[in-house]
């Protein structure tokens, strides 16, 4: 165990990491958000989804350090009397869940398709790449709008609300696969001509096994970088959709929903209802982006 840790510590990537203050800072922020996502109950002062615990009496309290604020509500309260800090912690959890799950879905669709297109070539390649071209003409927002419309009509309000998170994951995830497919296809076409692939074919390994066991590990690095950067994109996309009312409903708010709801009070003086969720979203996306950039540089030998 210690051996593994030592080896990890001495690896090139760990060395790069220690040398980059931006990466360290970003990782620290991300860790904090991860903790919020994993154990929100431990971090949030109030369980904001428990309707029996919120009181309209407490509505519109400013942050604790301002006049009229209450120490029980560090960042103040929203229009319903919910603790804003708790709402942000739970909201970040929803945002990260949607972001991570939709990226995973994109990877799961895009990587196998890219492998097949790159390795098999011919009509399979043509078919998958044309499908990718068609997919690119449907931006994620459009697909999300279509999904939302169909789901609302088919399920009705309350059922739709319960399924909002999986639906949003599906809408964002399904539009993101093209980048992965294209990246993996290119890398696979390069790897396909290598000797180790020819050797594996020579000893009679089946195509599927060659793709999975031999080629896949060698094309995963760019996927990792892409996934990290796309995580930030997916989180922003989720926030955008929620902001225009097509995403997560206010009963289980994500950061985007909190910003949408708070936006109503931007002109009326209760700035904290929109500003703090906005800052949280900014920090989260910035951290993911910085880490993604650093990872790309660290894994690219040409830059060193």
């Amino acid at each position: 165990m210690t051996d593994v840790l030592t080896r990890a510590w001495q690896s090139d990537i760990a060395f790069e990491f220690r040398r980059s203050p931006a990466a360290i800072g970003a990782a620290a922020v991300l860790l904090l958000f991860l903790a919020a996502a994993v154990v929100p109950d431990a971090l949030a002062p109030v369980p904001v989804f428990d309707l029996t615990r919120i009181a309209l009496r407490d509505a519109f309290l400013p942050p604790a350090w301002m006049e009229g604020g209450s120490p029980a509500f560090l960042l103040g309260t929203d229009a319903q009397g919910r603790d804003l800090l708790s709402a942000i912690i739970y909201g970040a959890r929803v945002s990260m869940l949607v972001g991570a799950a939709s990226v995973l879905l994109s990877v799961l669709i895009g990587v196998p398709l890219g492998l097949i297109a790159g390795y098999r070539g011919g009509w399979a390649d043509a078919l998958i790449m044309r499908a990718a071209d068609i997919q690119l003409t449907f931006p994620a927002i459009l697909v999300a709008v279509i999904f939302d419309g169909i789901a609302r009509a088919a399920l009705g309000g309350v059922a739709h609300e319960r399924l909002a998170v999986p639906l949003l994951i599906l809408a964002i995830g399904i539009t993101g696969w093209v980048q992965y497919a294209r990246t993996v296809r290119g890398a696979t076409m390069v790897e396909r001509g290598r000797d180790y692939v020819a050797a594996a074919a020579l000893i009679g390994r089946r195509q599927g096994a060659i793709m999975l066991r031999h080629i896949l590990p060698n094309v995963l690095t760019p996927v990792l970088v892409l996934a990290t950067i796309n995580l930030a994109v997916a989180i922003i996309l989720e926030a955008t959709l929620s902001f225009v009312g097509l995403g997560i409903p206010p009963t289980q708010p994500s950061l985007g929903t909190l910003i949408r709801v708070g936006n109503d009070y931007l002109l009326s003086g209760e700035w904290w209802i929109v500003i703090f969720p906005g800052i949280a979203l900014l920090l989260l996306v910035l951290a993911v982006n910085l880490l993604g950039d650093w990872l790309r540089d660290a894994l690219n030998p040409a830059l060193q």
Partner: protein, 527 residues
Amino acid sequence: MRGTGLTGARLGAALLAATITAGAAEAATLRVGVQADAGTMDPQAQNIQTTLTLHAMVFDALVTRDRQLKLAPGLATRWELVNPTTWRFHLRPGVRFHGGEAFGADDVKFSIERAKAASSQFQIFVAKIKEVVVVDDLTVDLVTDGPDPLVPDKLTYIFVMDRGWAEQHSVREPQNLRTRQETHTALNANGTGPFILRTREPDSRTVLERNGSYWTPIEGNVTRVEWRPIANDPTRISALLSRELDLVIDVPTQDVARLQRDQNLRVERADEFRTIFFGFDLKNEQLKYGQPGGGNPFRDRRVREAVSRAIDIASIQRATMRGLATPTGQLLAPGNVGYDPALDARLPYDQAAARRLLQEAGVPQGFAFTLDCPNDRYVNDEQVCQAVTAMLNQVGFNVSLNLMPRARYFPKLWERDTSMFMMGFNSPYFDGMYALETLHMTRADPEGIFNYSLYSNPEIDAMIRAARDETDLARRETLMKAAWKRVTEERIYIPLYHQVLVWAMRTNVVAPLRPDNWLEIRWVKVN
């Protein structure tokens, strides 16, 4: 009401002064910001205040109202009761529709009969009119089924269309919004009103231009109206602040304080004749959106009382409505005939009492159901419903909140497809009979046309009918008060508050506020 009278008088004086000094010749555009658009241009298809306000610019009714809200001649110059069941209306000669067609008795007969069609939402106003008799081209007799002293009041809501135009465009019947029908009238209008419809882009922009050959001098000086629905509150207010709009008639409560501080804007308020309340499914044995096998506990008066007692109205008034609401225990605002101050007190907010009532009603654990609410119809409807959802959960109910835009919400109510719902109601023609008849009577359209709870109590029906058919006005009011007392104590609905109406305008705009939230465009002046 008192506030409005004062405002009206002041505005009247200001207007008079302005007319003397400047005249009303110069062109002026009025850009009006509203939260949601009128759903159609068909004058008999949608009975919603916003829609009426826009339609009143294009159409005229036989009877209109003056600044003191008293009846005034419109397309009819005068009217009289020929016998107890016949009203005679003398029509204004020389009036022409925007398309050039002459206005006459035929058009009046056509429009009143059109309002009686199944797809009309104005049936209640003309229900007692049995027959429209054309005496000559400028005289019509309205024969009612029993005496109806309120015929002229009700006719203020019946806009007159040109019969020939309607037949030419096959819109003899009103557009049916329930079936999402599309007709020529959805986007086009041909009235006699002070303004002519020029451009109609639903949910985006409607442009109207002044009717140069209107049948009477127009007091105001507006020559062009731009009607701009902007759903998002901050966007609408920003548009006003950045001078993109001149007048906003749906001001979000949270922005009132800020707008009042702005030197370039004037904020006016009046007690609105609109009461916000909750209703329940009171008919079905099993709640459609409730616990399967849980029956319908709302049919028990004690459960409805528990709902009422669970609502912390003081916090809603203070935090959500920012003081722009008057809590109430009855469904009728002060200033209406039949209003009884004694019924205004709400049941006190008392969570323990609410839990006790649920226990007595045999549902000590509360029960699960869905609350349907609009999110773009009433002031802060979404926030109020969220707050009430939390409050009801605190006494044991398990409420799911179902929010939706008005375009989906009202068709759902029309189908009685709800277990608990929010509604706002104002009494047209300032008389409590309308609410009694449409909200409380057993449904037999037009009686009970807005009775979305499907409540039915023959005893209450009889009380309301007795008051309605009474011709002695003092006695009628006594009977109405008795009926109001009965329906209030029965807790058929749970009233929350009367809205306070707020308009914000640039300081150069003079727009008199009416407590029924009706923007009378003929009175608006832009300096």
